[in-house]
Symmetry: C2
Subunit: 448 residues, 2 copies
């Protein structure tokens, strides 16, 4: 991997003309290198102090800056670090970086500052991953989950589980040491109870993944209904509520998702179902198939019908024809017609008038759905890598249980326990390998 003896630098703020731009420098020589590029002597500056001066390339002035000094270990990376806050011109940022490189720094790889923080034990691996979640958070729910994971609650839970397993392993390995003597230090029945307890905890964490994913990425929602049911009008009404906020969130990846709106801090990601109609055209059929697939995967289906033209019998047929999906909210649109009998329609039907912007009954339903996913005091995981490691830990523990039930030798049991320990260690980074670190940190942005 990267050479950690190097002093690294990178811009920490987005390129663009702006008031300020911040450049980070970290490593053993950070302060010495910055000192060579600065017109004041900061070699003996204390940590957590700010210094006003100019960045100079030999004798040429580059910028008037504020320079912040951080002393090992009291910095983000745990190394000596400097942050240079200059004028927000991409040209100036480039010139400052060039000057730092000329004086011995090298460009940081994406995520290398956080990697160093991890390697210097300022963060465990799950916390380092939460930093990336923090930066990409775009709703209150995703922000609060990232903050909760940065506080380390999740890692501590995992560490407790792992410690119990280590205690297990110690006893079993002790039995191995006695080889042929057939002693049992570890009480087999006690072990089984403990493993069952561990498995319950792991399953609970694993099952929190769906909710965690929703908190992080929003609720995948399909808005369906026949043409002219009023889907576009409803969409506009929903987005109108949130347009000001949505438009401020830059950099949201949309992929195949058409629109995103936020309600009570929870994002709803609306999947387009325009293509959902019968067709004899082969290519169009593939499109319809994909839409139906996304409906099956959706957490929520909002099914809209036109109250003024649909009979209860027709609605029944329409609902029957839907592919199976998660929760469904049936919405009667065009309630402005005013003459309908509530009892004619399914009890849970929500009546709105998208045209008149009377959509509060639907918003209340959406809030109810969102509240299911609210972040409580329970630990929630949201990272596919963690879910995978938990699944593999679970598998290894099941094997241990199976081995105990079938009188497997203690060395075989110990092997499965060690495997589970390895998988859990991968989550917090107590066990690491370059490949795992690489795949985690290269997904970070540069300068972090």
């Amino acid at each position: 991997m990267h050479n950690l003896q190097d002093t690294i630098t990178a811009p920490a703020t987005p390129a663009g003309v702006s008031a300020l731009a911040v450049i980070r420098v970290s490593g053993a020589h950070a302060i010495a290198i910055a000192n060579q590029c600065f017109d004041k002597n900061i070699e003996n500056a204390e940590g957590y102090t700010i210094h006003y001066g100019h960045i100079v390339d030999d004798t040429v002035r580059i910028d008037e800056v504020l320079l912040s000094v951080f002393r090992n270990p009291h910095s983000y990376t745990g190394e000596d670090s400097v942050e240079i806050s200059g004028h927000g011109s991409p040209y100036i940022t480039r010139r400052i970086i060039e000057t730092l490189l000329k004086n011995g720094a090298r460009m940081a790889e994406p995520g290398e500052f956080t990697l160093r923080a991890f390697l210097n034990q300022k963060l465990d691996l799950a916390q380092a991953e939460a930093v990336a979640d923090m930066i990409s958070s775009n709703s209150e729910a995703s922000l609060q989950m990232a903050l909760s994971q940065m506080r380390g609650g999740f890692s501590k839970d995992i560490a407790v589980l792992r410690q119990e397993l280590i205690d297990f392993a110690a006893l079993i390995e002790l039995e191995n040491d006695f080889g042929e003597e057939d002693v049992e230090f570890a009480d087999r029945e006690g072990l089984k109870v403990l493993i069952a307890k561990l498995l319950t905890q792991i399953e609970k964490l694993r099952s929190s993944f769906a909710a965690g994913n929703v908190l992080k990425n929003g609720i995948n929602t399909v808005l369906a209904g026949k043409p002219n049911a009023g889907k576009s009008t409803l969409l506009n009404a929903l987005l109108n509520e949130e347009r000001a906020i949505v438009s401020e969130i830059a950099g949201t990846t949309r992929d195949t998702i058409e629109e995103v709106f936020t309600l009570n801090g929870m994002q709803f990601r609306l999947i387009d179902t325009a293509g959902l109609r019968e067709s004899s055209d082969t290519i169009e059929q593939i499109g319809v198939g994909k839409t139906k697939e996304s409906m099956r995967k959706a957490e929520l289906l909002v099914y809209l019908f036109d109250l003024s033209t649909t009979t209860p019998a027709q609605l029944g047929e329409e609902l029957k024809a839907l592919p199976p999906s998660g929760q469904t909210i049936v919405v009667a649109n065009k309630a402005e017609i005013g003459r309908y009998t509530l009892s004619d329609w399914p009890e849970s039907t929500v009546f709105i008038s998208a045209k008149e912007l009377e959509i509060q009954p639907l918003l209340s339903e959406l809030e109810r759905v969102a509240s299911h996913y609210e972040l409580g005091n329970e630990t929630v995981i949201n990272n596919a890598r963690h879910a995978d490691a938990l699944a593999k830990s679970s598998e290894a523990l099941q094997k241990v249980l199976h081995g105990l039930d079938h009188g497997l030798t203690s060395d075989m049991v110990a092997l499965d326990i060690r495997n589970a320990l390895f998988q859990l260690g991968l989550i917090t980074g107590e066990v690491t390998n370059d490949e795992v670190l690489d795949s985690i940190f290269t997904r970070f942005c540069i300068g972090k």
Copy 2:
């Protein structure tokens, strides 16, 4: 204008997912307001110190941040100020700003931080304008000129001129006080000499405007020549030299200019002349007219011809047909054909092969042109507002001179001197009005 008693806040870094985002707060209550949004007490924190902690909205944690404290007058604005450096998520930035607003700050207007710096006499007006030039600088030449103006050399020159005028005015006004008595405190001949000196200095500054404009905005260059002379190939060869650098400069406004490349820190802005051909189409004629107009305004014309198909006589005709413009470089392309007689062509002709990327002779010529504009020790102005004020000062001084020559009464002379003083004062901001301030600072980006 804005209420300067308010404490203001704004993001200071561009929106976007990144390592860091910086939010500025400035005003009498900056530290108190930030203190209410922070989970550590910073009320008594010293200036130029950094504090690690969390931004909190009541009890809800928003972000883990570094908070820098600046104490009046030792801050950018001259007021108490706080800079909050948080995670680079647009959502988090918005939440932090919301929290600050909730606790009594208001959103800053564009340029309001710098406006406050000016009003608190941290900068004069010309220096404040140089801050905007700094941020938009995109070449070494524009950066160095902005830095030079921020150092205040230009303002000091103006202030010296203005002081001499004030001394004048005092004597003349004294004469007015004596009314009918017909005394002359101010030596008329001495005054004329002094005004002539002032006019020379003003003219020198005014005439530096063209060079200043070039340093700031680059050299307007027209690349012309018959179809198939190799303009596109040359353009690619020129841009290829600089592509890596050019592509890094984000946010360059191009307007009608097609391509920009940098040579020895100087930008060349290439104007498209694709439309330069005879046409009977009325609309196309307008286009050609505009192109010819831009050629007339260009500082530099690079005229390319095909050495393999053009005769010296034809070239003579082509050059004669060109509209008058600034400097011209005649470039013979396709020098790879190898058989031509140097003496057949104008002495200054530059021979290149765009196809073979042998364009060094042209680059040398361009460097020679660029060196004309190099920033020496002389004061250079680059701001149309300053040029205008200098023109008006000059006009007023001419009037004074004319008045002296024609025995105008001292009160009339004093009026013209006062007008010149007013115009010069507008540049440094010793004289201001809201309209001028508004037009200057609303052009700043938010957060500066």
